[in-house]
């Protein structure tokens, strides 16, 4: 079934769905302009706005459920933006609304959590302002009904991410990480921008409603080009190879940020972009989709491998995020069935990864912001709630039967397997590695003997932090089953991204599933042997070449440095030199030459009257001679 066509604004809550964006934006504005005056109640306002936005989203969702599936795609035009090019408008459909719910839902939880987490920070107000700004931008991104508006949100979240990674800007590392994130993202945005140009020049519009129906009329080459450029944008935002390098540095930001932006929502925008444009530019077959799957698989492996070697708990989780998004990307390249699983995994991942990150944050909160897992250990008794919730998230992500990951991830793997065995098996391998590194995190953090310093007094976090954990854990546990069983999400998304001819039948036990489980178990077991049974050295052992390879992020940064940074600096120095010596030198050189000529010529004026007379005499001769020459011509 093709995606349904887009209907006009039916009014009701949908009519004011722009409130979803406006409210957090307002919050951000108030908090930023209000300045110190709002310090006292700033965080409450932030939370309030996030919650309000969530409520609106929910209401919109329920109003939509009232419509027949074919009528669930409506556009809400806002105002004319660039006449003749693009107007601002929202597209409310199952896809965008499920994102809106995820963003505002998980977002609100993380807002609440942050009240506690940031309680000691003097700039908490600014933090909430940025969070609200992020929510607004992210909602614009997913709700936009055309590529330009999407792009505004797209770079808006980039800005929010920049501000939040660099929230502790007095730390040079943080400032650098923030800049790096923005610049690398810009590389992706460059691709997206060009894609938009091609779209406009090809279809004369950038509105989804006008472009997608006519996609068929464009040449295959154009479609592929658009697809690949969109993918470049997606890679930047979702930290896929080759633009993955910024994500691990991004962990410089406060943990809630890592949870919200760099795990649950923003980094999945790439997946959203691909799925959103899927029906038109990533039909599941064809070059673009193939490349998408390849990128996905490569990233999911790379992320997993990186995850195995990190001692910094957040970086380990970040690696895992990369890898999980790799899965989604892979799915997104597999056509309608894939889209559904991609989104399903995206949602569940949003929950369990936020859960894990917040858990990690809770641990750090109790450990004086210690992030090195080698200095943890045996925390399960001291932080029971954190431990339990973390455990749930852990089981969900490794795909423990009947927990979220088990449904969504295995769904992806199965689909990939049907699509292309190699992709499938690689995905399975990835699952195995996931099993290993996640178990490693759990063992190093919550089991084994206590390895922290004397002055650290681990303690459970306050309720305001633990409750969000509990909610998220619950979601991580059940959501997968709810979304996948009887293809609930797939059917729901159908109007937005299209449906396959026959819906895949999900069987709880399948050969591939068993194989996956086996591998995961093996990975977990190996992790237990290495980190659970024998004790963990406080200083990391040198480790094999592979270990360093993983620790150095597969030499991604080294590569960037060698390929871009060094040559770039060299080029800059050259250009500056050329500008001063070459271009400006030419200008000043000319002036100098004239001056020099003058200085030399004036010597002719010797001051001897006879030489002047000579000049007259010769001049006269020349004049007469010239006259003869000219006259006789």
């Amino acid at each position: 079934m093709e995606p349904a066509e887009i209907l006009s604004n039916p009014g009701g809550v949908i009519g004011v769905s722009w409130l979803m964006i406006a409210l957090p934006l307002l919050g951000a504005a108030v908090l930023l302009l209000g300045g110190r005056r709002t310090d006292k109640w700033g965080h409450f306002l932030g939370v309030l706005m996030a919650l309000a936005s969530f409520v609106v989203a929910a209401l919109v969702f329920f109003q939509m459920l009232g419509f027949a599936p074919a009528e669930r795609r409506v556009s809400v035009p806002l105002y004319a933006f660039i006449p003749g090019v693009a107007d601002l408008g929202l597209l409310i459909d199952p896809l965008s609304i499920s994102f809106a719910l995820l963003i505002t839902g998980v977002g609100s939880l993380i807002h609440i959590y942050s009240i506690g987490y940031m309680s000691h920070d003097t700039d908490r107000r600014r933090f909430f302002a940025y969070l609200n700004l992020f929510v607004a931008a992210m909602l614009l991104l997913v709700l936009a009904d055309n590529y330009v508006a999407l792009f505004i949100g797209w770079e808006g979240v980039g800005l929010a991410s920049y501000l939040l990674i660099g929230f502790w800007q007095f730390k040079p590392s943080a400032a650098t990480a923030a800049k790096k994130a923005f610049v690398v993202n810009r590389v992706g945005d460059f691709g997206l921008l060009i894609a938009i140009f091609i779209v406009f020049t090809t279809f004369g519009s950038v509105a989804f409603g006008e472009v997608f129906p006519k996609a068929g009329e464009a040449s295959q080459g154009t479609l592929t080009a658009i697809g690949l450029l969109l993918l470049l944008g997606a890679c930047g935002k979702s930290a896929q190879l080759p633009l993955q390098s910024w994500l691990l540095d991004a962990m410089e930001g406060p943990t809630p940020v890592s949870a919200l932006i760099h795990a649950a929502t923003m980094v999945t925008a790439g997946v959203y972009l691909v799925v959103r444009s899927g029906a038109a530019f990533f039909p599941g077959d064809g070059t673009a989709s193939l490349v998408v799957t390849i990128v996905g698989v490569a990233t999911l492996l790379a992320g997993a491998i990186i995850g195995t070697a990190k001692d910094d708990i957040k970086k380990a989780l970040a690696g895992s995020t990369m890898s999980q998004i790799g899965y989604m990307m892979l799915a997104a390249g597999l056509g309608p069935v894939g889209y559904a699983f991609a989104i399903a995994h995206l949602i569940t991942h949003g929950f369990f990864k936020a859960n894990l990150f917040l858990g990690a944050g809770s641990v750090m909160h109790g450990m004086n912001d210690q992030v090195d897992m080698r200095r943890y250990g045996g925390l399960r008794t001291l932080m029971p709630v954190t431990f339990i919730t973390f455990l749930v998230g852990y089981l969900a992500i490794i795909g423990f039967p009947l927990l979220s990951g088990y449904f969504t991830k295995d769904g992806i793997i199965e689909t990939a397997m049907e699509h292309n065995a190699i992709l499938g098996w690689l995905a399975v391998a990835g699952a195995g590695i996931t099993g290993f590194y996640m178990s490693r995190v759990v063992f190093m953090t919550f089991f084994g003997e206590r390895r922290w310093d004397k002055d650290v007094h681990p303690h459970e976090s306050p309720a305001v932090m633990t409750w969000p954990l509990i909610v998220l854990a619950a979601g991580s546990a059940v959501l997968g089953a709810y979304l996948v069983l009887s293809n609930r999400l797939m059917v729901f998304l159908g109007p937005a991204v299209g449906l396959p001819e026959e819906l895949p039948a999900f069987h709880v036990v399948s050969p591939v599933g068993l194989a996956t489980l086996a591998l995961v178990a093996a990975g977990a077991g190996y992790a237990w042997l290495k980190y659970g049974r024998q004790e963990v050295p406080v200083v990391a052992p040198r480790g094999s070449f592979l270990t360093t390879f993983a620790r150095r992020d597969l030499y991604g940064d080294a590569l960037n440095e060698a390929l871009f940074m060094r040559p770039g600096q060299w080029l800059t120095r050259l250009a500056v030199w050329f500008d001063n010596r070459g271009v400006d030198g030419l200008v000043n050189g000319l002036a100098a030459t004239i001056g020099g000529t003058s200085g030399r010529l004036r010597r002719i004026q010797t001051g001897y009257v006879r030489s002047y007379a000579l000049s007259i005499f010769v001049g006269a001769a020349i004049l007469a001679g010239a006259w003869f020459v000219v006259g006789t011509l």
Binding site: I594, I616, G619, L623, A626, T632
Partner: protein, 514 residues
């Protein structure tokens, strides 16, 4: 044999006659009036005569321009002449106000510099009141030079104009060595060049059998080129004229003389002489050699280019303010020459002529103003000639510096100054006359020229004053008047040039009478 008495149109020649008459009266004053009275008698005599002459010029312009040369075809009082006379008389008037100002001139020219004799003369407060009649003679010559309709009169006028100037150059009160040197150089070179002029005249006479410009023209029509006498004669004649306007390669005298001469005299030369010489040049080349333009315009091209470039480039590295202005006047002579070659049909000619006339007017006024300012910036040894002494003048006396800066911008041809419209008029005429390349050279060299004008502004305004910097003397009413007048004219003509343009056009409309 009976000789018919020549007819003289006295009214038409009246301005000439008045000026010369006043000059002769001046001589008589010098001869008979007691020393303490002379100045008192000279000033009104001189100024009134000039004013009167100017009035008569106005009258004639209103009465209508004569279409026939007067005085048996010896003097042509036509539109251009009247306009030029007007300019010269105005310039002469203001310049005389400068000359009239105190202590520009040596108390006793004959005395050896630094001798006891000079001391005494200084103490007695002697002044060479001869400067007034001398100036008047020079001015008379300037009036006659562009008006003369045959080469003999032109030669005489040339000498009448030059000889007094030679003397005046030598009369500077300070830096007398330089002054005398400049006088000698000017004299020798002037005489040298006038010899060329005369020989050219002779040859042309040999060619045409007459020195009457119109007759030469007709003779040319008959023969149509290809004659040794003609070419050599024309060339040598050209040398004499180009020398007077200071066109390269005959410009060598200008810097030295301008620098050495007393500043008021320099002003007179820079304005009056240039105007007169251009008048004569145009007359000779457009009337006498009018049929020969295919031959001389390429040469004029070369001369114009050379003049502009030399003037602009050499000025850059000058350190003496007057010397710099001299080179700038060379450059401007070049720009004017651009107009001279912009000939074509009658209409085009009148456009070119009017543009040149306008240019002469605005340039003359501005340069007098500039030199007037130079006379006011003094330090211990007289005028602060070295540019470095001008540093920070903008701080010490912003008004004067501002006015001078304005004059410089006018020289540079910045819009909203009279200089811009002068340049514009000439360039437009030249382009219409098909001399586009010449104009390109013109703008490039005026861009170069802008540099040294701007440099003076930088010195005056952007650099801090020297501790013992020059003082600005309180101007006498005369000097103040000159500066004010020049500034006013530069502004007004920079915003509303139309009236003067109209005058120039109506003057040029009828071209030269033959």
């Amino acid at each position: 044999m009976n000789i018919t008495a020549p007819t003289i149109e006295y009214l038409q020649l009246a301005p000439l006659l008045i000026v010369f008459g006043a000059a002769i009266l001046g001589v008589l004053v010098e001869a008979f009036a007691p020393r303490y009275l002379r100045r008192a008698m000279h000033i009104p005599l001189t100024l009134l005569s000039l004013a009167g002459a100017f009035a008569l010029v106005i009258v004639q312009t209103i009465k209508g321009v004569p279409t026939e040369p007067s005085a048996m075809g010896a003097v042509a009082v036509d539109g251009p002449t009247l306009f030029i006379w007007g300019i010269i008389l105005v310039l002469a008037f203001v310049t005389l106000l400068l000359i009239n100002d105190e202590d520009h001139f040596v108390p006793a020219a004959s005395a050896v510099p630094g001798s006891a004799e000079e001391e005494r003369a200084l103490i007695e407060g002697n002044v060479h009141t001869e400067v007034y009649p001398l100036a008047l003679f020079a001015i008379g010559g300037m009036l006659l030079f562009p008006a003369s309709n045959d080469l003999l009169i032109m030669f005489v006028a040339l000498e009448v104009m030059s000889l007094p100037l030679y003397l005046l150059c030598g009369l500077a009160r300070r830096r007398r060595l330089l002054s005398q040197e400049s006088a000698m150089k000017y004299f020798l070179l002037g005489a040298f060049s006038s010899a060329f002029f005369l020989y050219g005249t002779a040859l042309l006479y040999g060619f045409a059998g007459s020195v009457d410009l119109a007759k030469i023209d007709t003779a040319l029509g008959a023969v149509g080129g290809q004659d040794a006498l003609l070419y050599t004669g024309a060339a040598l004649l050209g040398v004499g004229l180009l020398f007077k306007i200071g066109a390269a390669p005959f410009q060598a005298w200008k810097p030295d003389v301008y620098q050495g001469a007393p500043t008021p005299v320099t002003a007179l030369m820079a304005s009056g002489t240039l105007v007169a010489a251009f008048g004569a040049l145009l007359r000779v080349f457009w009337i006498a050699l009018g049929n020969l333009d295919w031959d001389w315009s390429p040469i004029m091209w070369a001369v114009a280019i050379l003049t502009m470039v030399v003037g602009a480039i050499l000025a850059i590295t000058q350190t003496d303010i007057k010397r710099m202005l001299a080179y700038s006047s060379i450059a401007h002579a070049g720009f004017l020459l651009v107009g001279v070659v912009a000939i074509g049909d009658a209409k085009q000619n009148s456009i070119a002529l009017s543009s040149i006339l306008f240019y002469l007017a605005v340039y003359g006024i501005t340069s007098v103003g500039a030199f007037a300012v130079v006379t006011m910036v003094r330090d211990a040894g007289g005028e602060a000639w070295h540019l470095s002494r001008w540093a920070g003048l903008g701080k010490r006396s912003p008004k004067l510096a501002g006015v001078f800066a304005f004059f410089l911008l006018a020289f540079a041809g910045i819009p909203l100054t009279s200089g811009f419209f002068g340049k514009y008029a000439v360039f437009q005429a030249a382009i219409a006359g098909g001399a586009l390349p010449l104009v390109v050279v013109g703008v490039v060299s005026s861009a170069i020229a802008a540099f040294f004008y701007v440099r003076v502004i930088v010195l005056m305004f952007f650099s801090d004053p020297a501790p013992d910097g020059p003082t600005v003397v309180l101007p006498s009413w005369g000097t103040a008047g000159v500066v004010g007048f020049a500034a006013l004219a530069t502004v007004v003509l920079g915003v509303f040039p139309q009236p003067v343009l109209d005058l120039a056009q109506s003057a040029a409309g009828s071209l030269f009478v033959r």
